[in-house]
């Protein structure tokens, strides 16, 4: 296992590259997912309350 981590002496280059890429991929993914979830919910809620106000 440690030989694998060693990456033939290039560990200090290979691992940061992968961590950076996969890190950004995950963070960007979660941020986008969460923003669409909350915004869509809020839009629905606002539309709903606006609808109620109009009735009475």
């Amino acid at each position: 296992m440690s030989e694998f981590l060693h990456m033939g002496g290039y560990a200090v280059f290979v691992w940061p590259a992968y961590v950076a890429v996969m890190g950004v991929v995950v963070i960007l993914g979660i941020q986008s997912w969460r923003s669409q979830k909350t915004l869509t919910a809020e839009a629905a809620r606002l539309k709903q309350t606006m609808g109620e106000e109009e009735q009475h």
Partner: protein, 265 residues
């Protein structure tokens, strides 16, 4: 065909159907791709294990450029065909493309360091990517600088089209500038000459990156559409609360206004 997606609600329904599949494909191809890239694929006879960075560098570089193409295409559709969803897609695509361009620069420098002995070399590809990164920053800065959303989307679309026309010119002039000052760079991009054990992981990583891009783009478009819906509802709320003069005409104006908005968008 163009207007099949035009209606925001229809797009959202379609996106919600595709998103679970995209998620599975992305997750699966990343898992397999990473496994092959890091474990099963052979080290390069010259660069040793540092060649593994290529499996994330090449797809990132491609996504950066592809993101800009989507950006320019969406801007063209929004400006020329007045496609109502296109500017949401353009605005959603920019951050993803910028992120991947930044990652391509980072991984490019990490990959080149063992060979060049320094963290940054003005290699033709890296330099072009750096300029592309600035084009992205300019695009996003313009969006945030203009308050009125309609004006911001059209101004950004103009900038994206002007940028798109200049990308090949910049690429050509940087390549020309590079050959003038430096012999051809030794960072092999890895053409078909690479043995198949390397081609497979690269191919799978490409699939993973593209599927991921489509998924996140759809999420961000949904977020943008929801944000616009909220903005319009807030405006209507304000319009309704206006002074007594508008009150008796208020609801009537809002109904007509609403009708106009539906037919207009």
């Amino acid at each position: 065909m163009m207007h099949r997606f035009a209606n925001p609600t229809r797009f959202v329904r379609l996106a919600d159907r595709m998103l679970p599949w995209l998620f599975i494909v992305t997750l699966g191809s990343f898992a397999v791709g990473l496994y092959m890239a890091l474990i099963t694929s052979p080290p390069d006879y010259q660069q040793g294990d540092s060649v593994r960075i290529m499996y994330v560098h090449a797809p990132s570089a491609w996504m950066g450029l592809f993101g800009y193409m989507v950006l320019a295409g969406a801007s063209f559709a929004s400006l020329v065909w007045r496609h109502p969803l296109a500017d949401a897609a353009a605005k959603a695509s920019a951050p993803i493309g910028a992120a991947f361009t930044g990652l391509a620069l980072l991984t490019g420098s990490l990959w080149g360091q063992p060979m060049w002995g320094t963290w940054w070399v003005w290699d033709a590809r890296l330099t072009s990517m750096l300029v592309l990164f600035f084009l992205y920053l300019g695009y996003m800065a313009l969006w945030s600088a203009i308050e009125d959303r309609q004006k911001a989307s059209k101004a950004a679309a103009i900038l994206a089209l002007v940028g798109a026309i200049n990308v090949p010119i910049i690429k050509f002039s940087v390549d020309w500038w590079n050959t003038l000052h430096q012999p051809a760079s030794i960072m092999r991009q890895g053409g078909p000459s690479m043995d198949s054990a390397m081609l497979w992981p690269l191919g799978i990583m490409f699939v993973a990156f593209n599927a991921y891009y489509a998924m996140v783009l759809m999420w961000r478009i949904k977020a943008e559409l929801a944000a616009r819906k909220i903005e319009t509802l807030r405006y209507n709320q304000a319009a309704r609360q206006e002074g007594p003069a508008a009150r008796q005409e208020g609801p009537a104006a809002r109904q007509e206004g609403q009708a106009v908005l539906e037919e207009g968008s």
